[in-house]
Amino acid sequence: MKIGGPVASSAYIELMNVVVCVKQIPDPAAPQSLEPGTNTLDRSGKLILDDSDAYGVEMALQLAEQAGGGEVTLVSMAPNDETSGLRTALAMGAASAILISDPALKGADALTTAKMLAAAIKRTNADLIIAATESSDGYTGTTPVQVAELLGLPSITFAKSVSVDGSSVKVERQTESGYDDVTSPLPALVTVTAGVVEPRYPSFKGIMAAKSKPVEILTAADLGVTAGQTGQEITSVVEAEARAAGEIVVDEGDGAQRIVTFLEALKLV
């Protein structure tokens, strides 16, 4: 959409600034482990951009593009000043990142994380905030709406489709029985599911450009938020009851009959 070119309804192009909350998580392909003592997830190894955040970043880039321009800013919290996952999202096209990193935040729970993210987002000029419905490592699933509540904003979760129309966002929101069409005025927070868009692969040019895009690293003190106690703890971790080992066979044309026999024994056929 060119500035000065034909416009549908308004005389001015509305730029739209989008903030995407992203998480850098232990590589899911590597064995996961718990910290001795606290039994929280061990985040000391390699961290990568959570796969579910690629959809949020892509959605943000597309919405900013459709609006005729606007910045996509990443906001994230990670230990050890980790930024490698952020560079992946910057390589896709995000403009800059704010990373909250502070030893005092080790083992932080969802509410503490939300307080930090909200404080960082207050430093941006966000029209729309996008996040995944839940992270792939902790899957608490509450951090985005906690952020929305702390910022006093409306939220729509489980978006299967997102579009922005002037000053409101329209979402198809997944429900137990199907989906609802939900709208909200901006600014608002939306959480997206995979399948909302197909994420782009960063180009070589994008990867190179990402190296010099600004990443601001802040501590809790920089944000003016006290880390505080999380108010919850893990008391123990135990092995779950194992199912008895099943019978695994290679199909040699008899697979279907084996299933029929199994179902017969259960009197289901």
């Binding site: 709406v145 952020v147 199907g178 709208t183 135990v238 695994i248 697979g255 259960l266």
Partner: protein, 321 residues
Amino acid sequence: MAIDKIWVVAEATEAGPTTVTLELLTAARGLASTVEAVAWGTTTAANAAVLGEYGASTVHDIGDIGDALPGAPVASAIATAIASGAGPTAILVPTSYDGRDIAGRLSARADLPVLTNITGLVGGDELTSQHPIFGGAQIVNARFTGQAPGIFVVRAKSFAAESAGGAPAAVSPLAVGDLGATNAAAVVTRHIEERTGPKLDEAPVVVSGGRGLGEAANYSLIEDLAKLLNGAAGASRAIVDAGWVPYSHQVGQTGKTVKPTVYLACGISGATQHMVGMKGSKNIIAINKDQDAPIFGVADLGIVGDVHKVVPALIEALKAR
């Protein structure tokens, strides 16, 4: 009992309180001296009998929220009650799309932490919650260490729903606090995806399909097989996201939890996300061409083979009977 009062966030459809609501009321009865429900919408008075039958002595009625999403108004009402000293010792919230919104907003508004993905609760002086991790291989036991109430978000089918034969709950209005802009999201149209046959989370047999089916058209094999077994057709998140099947078919972490007598997984690898939704099935049958697929770790009968061969053969064998 040592725990004085539990509030259960009671979701309802036109058909009445949801099954998971009744499950949480049943669980709460075994954990606390007093159980009360929190409800919203226009059907609370009509639902007071069932809520009371399952153990709620009072239902706190937030009233009609119009087209607003429940997260903000329900969280606000509960937070206001807590702030005025009228709150409970613990709050149980169902893991549903709206339940997650309510719990998250309540946590932020009342400045209380929240525990989610709970599959068990142990009572006593205080509540301990149980959470599956690492695909369900291990269970984490957790507790709150600060002030009450604790907010516990519990998965469906963690408890059985059992009537207590209780009297109808007394209805008591619960006021919503100041909402500001948080209440601005509104539902414009509700799309109910029609399905024939038994409900997915109630069917004794569930036949589910995943990416191994190859393409959307092949999902008809799943539907045919489900019908032959008088079951319901389900799906992995992967094929729901790909648009092959409606959202209401999704089984897993962010879909439905099912515990049928038989769960037949066709072309599903068994990602952690999916396992959480079906691991409690009494019998699991899996068909997958990859012998290392994680689903075989929970299958009672695993067929390492091509779904495009095994499923049609199974359909033929069942039709021939």
